[in-house]
Point group: C2
Chain length 478, copies 2
């Protein structure tokens, strides 16, 4: 990162001008490209705007950059070559691809978290470092032999890991499968990406839960899919809605997260599970079951997935280490008929040539180690503890203003804000007061909802964080 040295004898504005010139000469900002605005750069560097103005003036006087009113500050074209049409119009290329950018709200969250490291984070859907088995994995790395062979891997993934997953799936998920029906992916995100890219075509209709974290993934829109909603009530989706959608819109696939759904925490009712499998099999529709949270079940008994009752092979099952161990390993898996696994593995070769064997070796060792069970136990206890802290704080601070269902597993609490508020205003007011969360609209829901993730937040920050949230809410209500 770019850091200023406040103890240097060189003035700050000189440091900025020098660094900027170096970056321009290194091609980071090609000739003609737009530079950050003075205000933005000042924010980024944590200096006064006037300091940046001085730095830019310096660069302008050297002919390195040029500013025009209304079109910002750009790298000078004539300093770096005489023929006008000399650098590719990168802006044009960047805008031209058919991949949609991430949602502005998600970019805003990332930006805010980068800019202010002190923000209390109820937004990031991942485990806090102290919930991940970092020490256990460090020990395993020292104990075991890794990387005996670092060549290209089997397109379906590292065979000893798939072998280990066959036992894991049988023991923990009640799924009986074989190595050749498993595809190792770099996480649920890649599993979904492969499914949307390889099994569906632009224009295809699919059914997803409402609300659903899938709304936060432009991946579905980038693939040209049409999304239809299956409203989630306190028992999950209503399977009969699928029939209606099928008749009206010829949906081709159903995406569900039945256990501790993201974002609502809902558990799909057992009768509805049977109905869901029935409807899907009658219509010949595949179900994609995302199952990241089951092992966090606070009572220590992970609920069965749909896949465990899937006698006809209608379910593509997606699992991952990210929410139960470490997102940074980037190891996930899919269980599917072999023809599907083969197709997806083949396509993945074109995208990235498969995963590194190293994290796969670690994952396999961790699964079969004596660390795994105690880690899960500890994780569940900690999540339960944090959930209770969050509930307590919300009940204390906002007894009249919010309602929620108490989740029995997972990382999220889905909260309805009873008074009518402007989501955007509340969100920005929260950031100003030092707390960040994911607004419900990110998940396609109506206004007035908030997703609090309590897995990433430090336990001691939960109550103060909710105080700040309560202040923010009151400030815009008054």
């Amino acid at each position: 990162m770019w850091k200023l040295d406040r103890s240097s004898h060189q003035t700050l504005y000189h440091q900025i001008a020098d660094e900027m010139e170096r970056r321009i000469s290194y091609g980071e900002f090609p000739s003609g490209s737009l530079l950050p605005s003075e205000r933005k750069l000042a924010e980024l560097l944590g200096v006064n705007r006037s300091t940046v103005i001085l730095a830019y003036e310096e660069l302008r006087s050297l002919g390195i950059i040029e500013s025009r009113t209304g079109s910002g500050t750009r790298v000078s074209k004539y300093k770096w070559g005489a023929i006008p049409k000399h650098t590719p119009n990168w802006h044009h290329y960047v805008e031209g691809g058919h991949f949609l950018p991430n949602l502005p709200f998600l970019r805003r969250i990332r930006e805010a978290l980068q800019q202010d490291r002190t923000l209390i984070d109820f937004a990031s859907g991942e485990l806090a470092p102290e919930l991940s088995p970092n020490e256990e994995i460090s020990s395993l790395i020292k104990e075991k032999t890794f990387s005996e062979y670092l060549g290209y891997d089997n397109p379906q993934g590292f065979s000893p890991l798939r072998e280990q997953l066959v036992s894991y799936l049988s023991q923990y998920r009640n799924i009986q499968t074989t190595e050749s029906s498993i595809l190792i992916t770099s996480g649920s995100q890649q599993s979904l990406y492969l499914i949307t890219q390889c099994l569906l075509a632009p224009g295809d209709a699919v059914a997803i839960e409402d609300p659903s974290y899938i709304y936060s993934l432009p991946m579905f829109q980038s693939a040209g899919l049409r999304l239809f909603r299956l409203p989630v009530d306190e028992k999950g989706i209503r399977p009969e809605d699928i029939r209606t959608l099928y008749q009206k819109n010829r949906i081709k696939m159903i995406f569900v997260n039945p256990n501790f759904q993201n974002p609502t925490g809902t558990f799909l009712d057992s009768e509805r599970r049977i109905q869901l499998l029935q409807v899907a099999s009658e219509l010949g529709l595949p179900i994609v079951e995302d199952d990241p949270f089951s092992l966090t079940s606070y009572d220590g008994i992970p609920p069965n997935p749909l896949k465990s009752s899937d006698q006809l092979g209608s379910v593509l099952y997606i699992g991952s280490f990210s929410k139960i161990a470490a997102s940074g390993l980037r190891v996930g898996w899919m269980v599917a008929p072999h023809s599907v696994v083969e197709r997806l593995a083949d396509a993945r070769q074109q995208m990235d040539f498969g995963l590194s064997v190293v994290p796969q070796q670690i994952a396999a060792q961790f699964l079969k180690s004596s660390y795994f069970e105690p880690h899960l136990e500890r994780l569940r206890m900690q999540l339960l503890y944090k959930r209770d802290l969050l509930i307590e704080a919300l009940q204390k601070e906002l007894p009249e203003e919010v309602t929620f269902m108490i989740p029995q597993g997972g990382l999220h609490l889905w909260c309805r804000i009873i008074p009518k508020v402007n989501d955007h205003k509340l969100f920005e007011e929260g950031i100003r007061r030092g707390i960040i969360y994911a607004p419900g609209s990110v998940y396609g829901s109506d206004s007035g909802y908030v997703r609090f993730t309590f897995a990433r937040t430090k336990a001691e920050d939960i109550a103060p964080g909710i105080s700040k949230f309560a202040e923010a809410l009151r400030s815009i209500l008054s």
Copy 2:
């Protein structure tokens, strides 16, 4: 893998029937799906066809599978449910996506290598295990602390690795850049995938070398790109051809591999480099420079990349560890203007949420370790040694039948077969005699070329391998 136990008291055909039934009940072969033919399964398991016939008869008698003349053997529908339309038509989904399957020739190579582990491998474009720094990396893993934090990574990649790459690129590639202009990818394949998906749109025309390994990547066709050829002679491509292509076909990007080109081993002439950069900048065209082999330069002096003379920021530079250290780490990088890096990083979040931090930590440690230089030295010596063994064998066995240019770096020798032969026949005859290579047509070239990769082959197998090749060639000539 599926293994038969020949010492068991259970007959082989019973073992096959039992295992098949288990796999069907586990959903690996859903109801209605096609099973491998008797001949194919017999080959796979290394048993007589009659054994498989017996096993299939057993399963038929149980009503588990059914066979119809001309349409093969399928999992019975009625065993597994009464309503006919019950399992998704996976075949339809698998064929429906817009991702093209890999080339038949490449699938054939993979299959042949899987089926016969004794094949002498001149096909795989990767280093032999003994050329990879496996021991060095194992030592580093023991010495250093890894995985202190296993959370989601920065979308551009692990910051200490990018920092290390800034020095690496300056020291070894004569490229001056900054951390924020570097994107870590899981290898050149992902770099190219991101470029084709995010900076180009279906229908766009691009120029590639002829021959080029890019013809072996259906990725370009999957992205809907139109490919135009830049013929490679002994000095590489002719830059004036770009102007012609631009006028005729409005090409939007140029893909080149100037140092020890894959597959020809050609080094792009220094005058043509200047012309290439000039033409590209006049036309405002971006150049994608793939540079996987430079550090293998047998004289120990890695030639400069185009990027080192790219004053205008026209070049997107792609590098990787795969051909100079270990393909199994899956670590590559791209140097590009920050706006491009940012766009690609954002899109990659949708595909796979970035790389595991573990191989990135290893790569960063390896680059700054005292192991790196001696490893490169050893790699170069070994490659040179193997190249010479290959040349010697070809000159001894086929002095009149083949010609080639002697490569000064890289892993490949590109060989013209002088007598007219049927490529496919020669290839299959080679496999029958125990040797496999990549036929020239894979790289889009005319008939009569062969790419021998000598990096994967054991030194002691090179001469016997070429003997087998010579036998195969003579057998189809006679």
